[in-house]
């Protein structure tokens, strides 16, 4: 079925659809023409990172019919004060392809444990750069994908709280105070003509 979905991009070359459909990324053209196409890479492979004690946990959720190569995973520190060790990955499924050899792959989901240390007690937010690469079983491979993630302390798959913006309330208060003060300064010394 994936192959069914995969091979019909030529539908978009129908002249009637050419005007609007082609302004969209290739993976959206299927939707435009009422066909199901290959998934866009960010939907096929969803990634999130969280802080869990002394380790970062990076988790990929992989769509049905798609897989990621174990040997293509990379996690690097992006924050200047962050040191990360090599990601610890579970054993994958061995996939033997006559044209690519034997590879370990992951389907459905995989979590990498990345031990980390910080060298200045957290002056910078933790940022990591992750790289991964995968394919669709139906016969399509995505180039390596690199993303910068900001791991948070929230449990995975739970919406984090919106971070507070302390400067916002300070600014609103300061602005209101400034206008009040400006009014008082301008008013000082003025006298209202009060009719007798």
């Amino acid at each position: 079925m994936q192959r069914t979905q995969a091979t019909l991009l030529s539908l978009f070359l129908l002249l009637g659809a050419a005007g609007t459909a082609h302004a969209k990324p290739w993976w959206m053209r299927g939707i435009e023409s009422n066909e199901t196409d290959f998934l866009p890479p960010d939907v096929a492979f969803r990634v999130a990172a969280r802080i869990d004690g002394s380790a970062l946990k990076v988790r990929w959720v992989i769509a049905d019919g798609y897989y990621l190569y174990k040997q293509k995973f990379e996690v690097k520190a992006e924050s200047p004060d962050l040191l990360v060790s090599a990601p610890q990955l579970p054993a994958g499924v061995v996939k033997t392809d006559p044209y690519l050899g034997t590879q370990e792959i992951y389907t459905q989901q995989v979590e990498a444990v990345v031990p980390y240390t910080r060298i200045d007690a957290g002056a910078h937010p933790i940022q990591i750069k992750v790289t991964y690469q995968g394919c669709a079983e139906a016969g399509l491979c995505y180039p390596p994908i690199t993303k910068v993630l900001f791991p948070n302390a929230q449990p995975a798959l739970v919406a984090p709280n919106v971070p507070p913006y302390p400067w916002e309330s300070i600014a609103i208060t300061a602005g209101a105070f400034a206008f009040l003060l400006a009014g008082l300064v301008l008013r000082k010394g003025r006298k209202l003509d009060v009719p007798a």
Binding site: M1, R3, T4, Q5, A6, T7, L8, S10, L11, F12, L13, L14, L15, A18, H22, A23, P25, W26, D37, F38, P41, D42, R46, V47, A48, A49, V61, D97, Y99, L100, P125, A136, A138, G139, L140, C141, Y142, I145, K147, V148, L149, F150, P155, A156, A159, P160, V162, Y165, W167, E168, A171, A174, G175, A178, F179, A182, V185, L186, K188, G189
Partner: protein, 231 residues
């Protein structure tokens, strides 16, 4: 502070303080919003400024061209070759990479097609979006005997000319002898699909059908083949 001038100056200063505080708050909030968008709901990282996918969402994708665009890339010997070198022939332009398993799997089929159509008005051309050394090594080991052009960013630019600005591989473009793009096939090619598309290209080349008719027939034919495979 008794003079009107001093009062005005004081008022201006506090007003400036208010404006500064507002701007500061706005900039700080914007800075916070970037990671908030990049990691929505703690589930999946959406692209941010530091990866290519962000610009992909922002940059409009070009149209899949009605005709084969002109471009040049280097071949296995490093010589620059224009795609117009094969003008007048129908083309099967296959975009691939050595790290891509389905790309590797379809190479034997492309070699077979190339051999079967040798001396006729059809040419298979590979475009490898990869490192030249890897492609040369691979082409030697797999004995690829049809023309292979190589590039990195320049090959990606060529892919973008076909409407594939953020390509996945393989994908294959079929043109007729007039250079009209008849089909763009995303994913691994198989014999039934290639035969069907090429039969339509042949009909086009011999003026038995018109281009819109051929495109529709290919779309319907591929759909039928896919349903047959799925069923």
């Amino acid at each position: 502070m008794n003079t009107p001038g001093l009062r005005l100056l004081g008022a201006a200063l506090v007003a400036l303080l208010g404006i500064w505080a507002g701007l500061k708050a706005y900039s700080v909030r914007r800075a916070h919003e970037i990671p908030a968008v990049a990691v929505p709901a703690g589930v999946a990282s959406a692209p941010n400024r530091s990866d290519g996918a962000a610009s992909e969402a922002a940059v409009p994708h070009p149209l899949v061209p009605a005709r084969l665009p002109d471009f040049s890339l280097r071949d296995l010997t490093g010589k620059s070759i224009s795609i117009s070198a094969w003008s007048g022939k129908s083309l099967v332009v296959n975009f691939w990479a050595t790290w891509c398993a389905p790309c590797r799997r379809e190479i034997p089929l492309l070699k077979t097609i190339s051999a079967e159509w040798a001396g006729r008005d059809l040419k298979v051309v590979g475009i490898a979006v990869d490192y030249p050394d890897k492609v040369k090594d691979f082409a030697g080991r797999f004995k690829i005997d049809y023309p292979v052009l190589i590039g990195d960013q320049d090959a990606l630019d060529v892919a973008a000319k076909f409407g594939m600005a953020s390509p996945a591989f393989p994908f294959t473009v079929f043109t007729d002898r007039r250079g009209e793009v008849v089909a763009l096939f995303l994913g691994e090619l198989h014999r039934p699909q290639v035969d069907f598309i090429l039969s339509e290209v042949q009909d086009l080349n011999q003026d038995r059908i018109q281009l819109p008719e051929a495109r529709r027939a290919i779309a319907d034919g591929l759909q039928a083949l896919a349903e047959k495979q799925a069923g």
